[in-house]
Structure formats: C-alpha cells, structure tokens
C-alpha cells in the first residue's frame, strides 16, 4: 500500500488523452463487463502517455469511466506503481526484499545514491534519474535485482550499476 509514499499533487495541465490513447481506451473498454473494471488498464494508459498521473489526468480518467474522482484517488494511492508526481526519465527500482537483501541490495542503493547524489524517492536535478526501493519483484535467483522503468537488470553489483548508470545518462 502506497499511501505514505506519495501524495496527489495539485499540478499539471488539464489533461485530454491524445487520439491514439483514446483508441486504446476504447479497445480496453470492450474487454470488461463494467467500465470500472477498466480502471487499472486506463490508468496505465495515462501513465504511459504522460509518465505520471496528475490530479487532472485522474479526473479525466474518472470522467471517461463514469467514476467518482474520489474512487480513482483511492485506487491510485493503493497501488505503488502509479507515479503521483513526475519521476526522472529513468526510474531506478531496487528490490530490497529478503533474497535481494541477503544479496546486498542495501549496499547497492547506498552506492547508487552516492553516485547520483540523491536519496530514496528523490530525483536528480537534471531529471534523468529517480531512485526508489521496491518490494520483491520476482528476481530472487538473480539477487540483487532491479528494474529501470519496465526492464529488469539482474544480478547487479556496484560495477555493473556504474556501467548501467553511465549508459543511461548518455542515452537520456
């Protein structure tokens, strides 16, 4: 449950989905018996469109699905993967659950934070990196495991992390 991690911010512009996102939403709605059931998939479309979900985007989702905005807020704050504020271009998600913990995940986070000059839940000034700690991501046999946006990188150590960060900094 994520309610302590983020808060919904009053930020962002009024949000209308671009046409291709609306086309995806139309397709999604056909797969479910109720509009409400499409909430998670539509929120994913919103996040993929804008990188995070602003209050305005959440309200647009509520309007499309005929849901009270408060219901959408309740759902948004329950699930940890919805970004309720902007995140860096590369969202570094380091697993610290048991097998990764035994594999040295905390050392990896410390190293990463020092390298980038940020703490957990913080974003670098150039907007390239955000560092977060996540619970088990099912990469336990390749501990410590981490994800950058939607890709797994595992197993990681200080050396492979440095190389990855350098590549990502160059590319973004």
């Amino acid at each position: 449950m994520s309610h302590t991690r983020y808060h919904v911010e009053q930020a962002g512009q009024p949000r209308k989905f671009p046409a291709e996102a609306m086309a995806r939403i139309e397709k999604i709605l056909k797969r479910y018996p109720t509009k409400q059931a499409a909430l998670l998939p539509v929120l994913w479309v919103a996040q993929e469109t804008w990188g995070w979900i602003s209050k305005e985007a959440a309200e647009e989702v509520a309007r499309i699905l005929d849901l009270p905005p408060s219901h959408v807020d309740g759902v948004l704050t329950f699930y940890t993967m919805f970004n309720l504020k902007p995140v860096g271009k590369n969202l570094l998600q380091v697993c610290t659950s048991i097998s990764c913990h035994l594999g040295g995940a905390e050392g990896l986070i410390e190293h990463c934070g020092k390298k980038l000059g940020i703490g957990l839940e913080e974003t670098t000034k150039d907007g390239k990196f955000t560092l977060v700690e996540v619970e088990c991501i099912a990469g336990c046999d390749r501990a410590p495991s981490m994800m950058v946006n939607d890709k797994y990188y595992e197993p990681m150590d200080a050396k492979s992390l440095d190389a990855l960060l350098e590549r990502l900094a160059r590319e973004s």
């Binding site: 998670l40 619970e135 088990c136 046999d141 890709k151 797994y152």
Partner: protein, 434 residues
C-alpha cells in the same frame, strides 16, 4: 525426472505458437473439445488431485466443483492468478516469459471444464515483459483459432484478456485479486460467499495460479494416473517448480517430482549445489516469506510437498525456498521480512494494519541494539493478537510467521542482540554499536 512444465524453457523461439504446436501444443485442447465433456475434464483434474500451486495447496478440481450447477444466467469467470509477489517466488515469471502458450492452453482447457467464456490473466504490474509476451501469444492463439468464437469448429468460445496489476502484494489473495480486477483497491473480501459462488462482478469465479493451470494441461495430455505417480503419495503429486534463492551456489527454478527432499534441492548437483562459501545452513524458509522458518535440524528429512512441509510446522506455500547461512543475523532477516509485510498490509483490518508496523518497529529496535529483554516476548504477544481469525484474510497469519518462528527457534540470537547491542554472527558482530 523428465522436465514437463519447463521442457521448452531455454529452447529457441520457445514463446512462439509455431514452436509450441510443433511440440504437441494445443493437442490437449483439441482432445477435450473432440472427445470429453466439461464434467469429464473436471473429473480427471479432480482425480489427479492437482493441488493449487499458488500457495494454498487446495485441489483445483474440487474448487471447480464448488461452482453452482445453475448460475441463473450469470457468466462464469476464470481468473489466472499471475500476481506472483511472494518474496522468494519467481516460477510463474519463468513459465510466462518462456512458454506462454502452455498457460493459454491450460486456461482454455480449464475454461471449457468450468463453462467459462471470458477469462483474464491478472499479471503483476512489474512483469511488463511477461504481459507483452502473453499479449502476443493471445493474439497468435486468436489468429490460429485456439481462442475466440467456436474454437476449432466446436461450440466452445473463449476470450482471454491480459490484465496488469499495479504493485500490491495483496492482489495475489484471490478475493483481493477479484476486487482489483473490478477496478478497486485490492482489499480482500469476507468469505463466504466464496468466489465460486459469487466472485468477480458478483458472478461465479474460479481463481487458479499459473503453474496450476499449466498442470491442468499436463493432466489432460498425460492422464491423471501419470500425474499421481509423480510424488510420495497421491495427495502430493505431479511435476513441481521449486524456486530456490538466498545464500546458495546456484539459485534458480528447478523442476522435480513433488516431494523432492529439501536437502537435495539445496545440496544436489542437479539443483542449488550447496551453500555459498561452504558455510553452514542456519535456517530455511520453505514456502516464501509467509512460511515459518525451519532450523538446520528440521530440514533433515523434509520432503518438499504440501503435507511434508506441513508436518514440520511450516508450509510449502509457493515453493519458494530461501536459504539463510550461519553468518546471517536472524533478527536482521526477521526485520527485513517484517518491513515487507508492514509495507504490504492492505490496511483493512486493525490487527494487521497496526500489528505489522509494530512488529517492524520492535524488530528494528532490537536489530539496532536498542531493544529491551521484554521486547522478545512482546513480539510473540503482538503475533498472537494478530492472527488466528482476527482478520479478513490470511495476510496477518503470514506476517507473523517470520518473527514468531525466529523468536521461538533462535531466541538466543535475540537475547544476544539485546544484551550485547549487536549481532551474534556475521560482519556486524564485531562492530560495537553501544
């Protein structure tokens, strides 16, 4: 044992429908549509006693049997539980990323048996790759006529949709999953009614785990008798995927007949090949974070099946075996596991919402050398007030397993921590924090 569930893992193009069909794929679906009634399929799965691979170990066929005979016009839903979030578990990820059609065929066979025509795969949000692979496989299966209207010329039609979660462990609990797929917070429901009577969208619903559905396909291909012979006895049978992680030489997913001795998995040449650095085993968590720890003495002669691990006072759960070596501080392990449960409690029931962070707080205090001797009994007392029917779902029962089992079995380490204000073993044993 010949590999069954993972036989295509590692093969080139193992995800494509061509590879799958060339290897005999969808023959099981063809067979049930041509020659079996839905009830015959259910009977075969019931006879094989396919016990749920997600954690509870409940017979899938019996679960299907709870569906009402007359649904009063309501549709029946099949939800594949691909939320795989139990710390230490990574078998379903392997199955979905490498062999998605095996799961789709299992779902099609199960749907035919339970008379479902709309099914969903609820896959955890982090599995972007898994979801993309499954979506591609679903599209291939529609194109080849294995999904959609009038499958293979029969009267059976089925739609499958891949539905992504968004980061919430509790959505692996079947009624939490149902709430989530309805577009709500994934907070478990009070039972009864059980999902088979009233589940998703207030309709009869079956929730089965990925590996369970893959087993269903194997039962249809090879027969219940084959399935029942793999294992110690007929109640604990079939091919099984074991996830082993922690301080072993070769962590990974290993397939074996149900009942593989735990020590073989840890030390066997075909499996994890022993401990890292030749250190000794201190403790083993045999079934994911929710399972009580076993001591080195308890892992002697422990068959990894539902009843074998239960006889040791723990559970097979999702068959996630986490091995902890002698140089690791058990208080630190319990603290880490408590952090997980404290983070993941859905917040619905007071004993769990308040109890999980309390446990984490007390464990942190002890771990940091600020504990009091009475904290050790306090941990046990909190645990006893959280579980055994105090809450809607079994999350709280899971959350108390690490502290309660470690306090009971490794009490001297807790006492050492309080008295010496540092770990008894490992690198930090030398650090004086006082």
């Amino acid at each position: 044992m010949e590999k069954v569930l993972t036989r295509r893992v590692g093969q080139p193009n193992s995800r494509s429908i061509e590879t799958y069909v060339a290897d005999g794929g969808y023959a099981g679906l063809r067979k049930v549509l041509a020659s079996m009634t839905p009830d015959q399929v259910t009977e075969e799965v019931k006879k094989a006693n396919v016990r749920g691979r997600g954690g509870a170990g409940f017979s899938a066929g019996v679960k299907w049997g709870f569906l009402p005979k007359d649904t009063k016009g309501k549709p029946i839903y099949l939800l594949c539980n691909a939320d795989e979030s139990e710390p230490g578990t990574f078998k379903d990820r392997l199955l979905m990323e490498n062999d998605p059609h095996q799961l789709l065929e299992g779902m099609a066979i199960a749907s035919y048996a339970i008379r479902c025509r709309t099914a969903y795969i609820y896959i955890r949000g982090e599995f972007y790759d898994g979801a993309r692979i499954l979506e591609k496989a679903v599209a291939e299966a529609y194109a080849k006529g294995f999904l959609g209207e009038k499958i293979l010329g029969s009267d059976f039609s089925l739609d499958i949709t891949v539905h992504r979660g968004a980061g919430a462990y509790i959505c692996g609990e079947e009624t939490g999953l149902i709430e989530s797929i309805e577009g709500k917070r994934g907070q478990p429901r009070i039972k009864p009614p059980f999902p088979a009577v009233s589940g998703a969208f207030a309709c009869p619903t079956i929730v089965n785990n990925v590996e369970t559905l893959c087993c269903v396909k194997q039962v249809i291909d090879r027969g219940a008798d084959w399935f029942m012979k793999l294992g110690r006895n007929e109640k604990n049978a079939g091919p099984k995927l074991y996830c082993i992680s922690g301080q072993v030489q070769r962590p990974g997913v290993y397939e074996a007949a149900m009942g593989l001795p735990l020590k073989d998995l840890i030390f066997g040449a075909d499996y994890a090949q022993g401990m890292k650095g030749g250190r000794k085993v201190k403790a083993v968590i045999p079934g994911g974070a929710s399972a009580p720890m076993l001591t080195a003495a308890e892992i002697e002669d422990c068959p990894l099946d539902f009843d074998g691990v239960a006889a040791k006072g723990s559970m097979l759960g999702s068959a996630a075996i986490i091995v902890i070596d002698e140089d690791t501080c058990i208080v630190n392990v319990a603290q880490n596991l408590s952090k997980f449960f404290s983070h993941e409690s859905c917040g619905q029931c007071t004993p769990c919402r308040e109890g999980t962070p309390w446990l984490y707080k007390v464990l942190t205090r002890i771990e940091q050398g600020e504990g009091r001797m009475e904290d050790i009994d306090l941990l046990a007392r909190i645990c006893n007030q959280m579980a055994n029917g105090m809450t809607i779902c079994v999350f709280a029962d899971a959350a108390i397993a690490p502290p309660l089992s470690s306090v009971t079995k490794f009490r001297q380490e807790y006492e050492y921590h309080v008295t010496h204000k540092r770990c008894m073993v490992g690198a930090r044993a030398q650090l004086v924090t006082a």
